[in-house]
Symmetry: D2
Subunit: 247 residues, 4 copies
């Protein structure tokens, strides 16, 4: 019996060396892939500006790419290459709809500090009209951590607080993966988001629990492509240089 085991181990040993070639002798071209050529994209001269394949959502001149939620023209104020929430005119959203995207957006809380906590420099970027990346002047304001700038509102706290002072322009570079739903409407894979705030990673492949809710817990409901929505929270937050690359 032990003899049999001995032979068995011999077999393994000999077999292994007999059949496996030493790595050095392998043909290196076998691990080359030639059949798929990535599309050429021309990056912007300055990082932060739109590359050649981006969809320009705001070009500094008008809100033609945007609409109010009821379908009427967007009524926020456009001036000197930026646009600003016009209090009481309501949220606005893009006419185009999106799934997985890379998003660049720049925003600025008002220089003059008015209000406290969630009432100061508050707006929001709703991915697919549902999942809010918070915009807030939380530079030195006091609010709950999952409600500060860069949070996934009422869900995920940013890794660090990389906010600039009110009145300074800030950037969000976002990689967003839309949720997937089964045919019966069940969420199969949750939405995911990575956010770089002013060059600093603040959300790292964060799973989104469901649509943003002010009260209670989020619950996914099936949807397809949807707009990018910006929130009118009553504060004159400004935006500029918004572009999207569809992934």
């Amino acid at each position: 019996m032990r003899l049999i085991y001995f032979f068995f181990f011999m077999l393994i040993t000999v077999g292994s060396f007999a059949q496996a070639k030493p790595r050095e002798s392998l043909d290196p071209t076998v691990s080359e892939i030639w059949d798929l050529k990535p599309v050429k994209v021309t990056p912007a001269k300055n990082v932060g500006d739109a590359p050649s394949d981006a969809i320009i959502i705001f070009d500094g001149k008008n809100l033609n790419e945007w609409t109010s939620l009821d379908g009427t023209p967007a009524r926020w104020e456009v001036k000197e290459g930026i646009f600003t929430v016009a209090k009481g005119t309501g949220d606005i959203k893009t006419k185009k709809t999106f799934g997985d995207i890379q998003l660049h957006i720049e925003w600025r809380a008002p220089t003059e500090i008015v209000g406290e906590g969630q009432g100061r420099g508050n707006s929001g970027i709703f991915l697919q009209e549902r999942y809010e990346l918070q915009v807030l002047d939380s530079y030195e304001s006091v609010t709950y951590s999952n409600g500060q700038a860069g949070s996934i509102y009422k869900q995920s706290i940013p890794l660090v607080n990389a906010t600039r002072k009110p009145g300074e322009w800030q950037t969000y570079d976002v990689i967003y993966t839309a949720p997937r739903f089964s045919e019966n409407g069940r969420v199969v894979s949750q939405a995911k988001i990575t956010v770089i705030h002013n060059g600093v990673l603040i959300q790292n492949d964060t799973q989104i629990w469901g649509p943003t809710e002010y009260k209670g817990l989020p619950v996914y409901q099936s949807h397809g492509k949807a707009s990018l929505k910006l929130q009118d929270h009553g504060n004159p937050v400004s935006f500029r240089n918004i572009w999207i690359r569809e992934l």
Copy 2:
């Protein structure tokens, strides 16, 4: 029997409405998190420069943060705020070792085009000394797709080709998650990498198959924190503005 079912459904119906409060009536403060405050990080004035919590791996003056692989001083050339591969002096690596990181690095292929394919402007950024993010002048050169700039070498093709011309500075913004190993040395979760090249997403949460191999397939082997390594492939590729944030 049917009566029993009827009562059962009544129970469900009544039960549901009796116990669940309407969302509007919920206390919104319950979904606020106050107990965890993210650390404050001061972003750089210009996106791309190091934020306040970054480890500066190259400050433009010397290679004091680097060493040759054999432990002797790094011998690449430092001049005018950049450093350049000195052919034949070998790879260099950081003295500090890292796990999960955010990395910013800028590189430039030589203006004068010399060589073809993998022989033109070739270097490489090895995360944890093992996993290569390719550096190459593949702007208009011909090579295999999983060997062009921005590829995980011999593994993952970049989503698009966002390369600049030789002689122009290029940026990689990298989010890297180190692999995890079990106590018996088995890989439990593979390394993951997201790369933004000149502002364009080219690797989106890509799983790395194992250590980079020129020949044959990669196989993970257990390791801890490790250096960032740059490759001397014999071409005078330059680097500048390198910083790392530990995650």
Copy 3:
């Protein structure tokens, strides 16, 4: 100028065909990996029983592998190969601590139905003492969806309701990945869980938001390996055939 482009495209075309070998001509042995041999594990004769490398947490005879939370001996009732919550004796946890695991556990809600909603056949399996996979008689009872059997309590609703009748034995087959924390205590990757309930997938790579909370939202706090904990919720829920494989 157009001529230049023409030559450029010729270069690409010729280059591609010149350098890439047709797939059929490649050496197939290059994509074979011989250097790493998985350890041999002998599966149980009956699926559901412990394979050869499992840690037996309950062998049907005693609670020697368990302790009360205060370190005193576990006082739940052991009888005829199963053990049962002894009301008022408190939660119990394993003496051994764990990180990433495969877990098999069988449980049974009392045959005699007593109570309603969360008061009927309630217990819970706390991974790493913090993250609760709910145990409940929710076969035909009315409760909130993220509190029914198979939910990650107050977080994730099971994909389907695969519960058996009270009095019948049920199985959970669990694949659990522990959260990872950075050196400063920040969560770097959240805990993940896959649960198969009586053979039916009910949690599919679900991210856990943080430690289970009865009130308010969960917030991660750094921890290392920890015990498996079972909850005394005052109902005589029974358990048997519990084993763990460390991953």
Copy 4:
């Protein structure tokens, strides 16, 4: 100036305590979700058998759910509740096509050992006709590790070797997530697979690199729903009890 800071810190401190309620005082019903009820599924009496919502791909009687690759009837041998590869009749695939699935399948390598390595008891389960979960008698045979039973063929080695002897029935319980492609055909998220072999976890949320290739590296190409395919590798491997749940 210092006075201002003092007041600022007072504000933070007071603000924090003033606005955040202690966790104990929160309303626990806010984190209950009542609006979404998971569908009821009746599990099989014996784990391993099909639950009520499964699609039966083989009922033990005939191959009516299968076809040859050219569309003609499947010609493998059905006998005594199992079916067996009929050498030379070619691969077979399901008439139904699938995306994300839970799959249960049982297989048996021939009792009489014939051949060596990849020539012994070889078949394969191709998810979506492209991604092979290897079937092989590698119990005590010598082959490459990423080609043994339970490997993702020529890609991922199983975590452990949980194979039974030739002639014994073996189970694969599979959770499969199909790859997602962008509108331009680029892979956006790779396929993922978890495999439990005879009750033992052998693939844990493994990313699949692309379609299985015998020579060279895999490259994703866009596709939609597709069949489950079984391989005729010339060996009389048998199958039984195959069911699929669409996720």
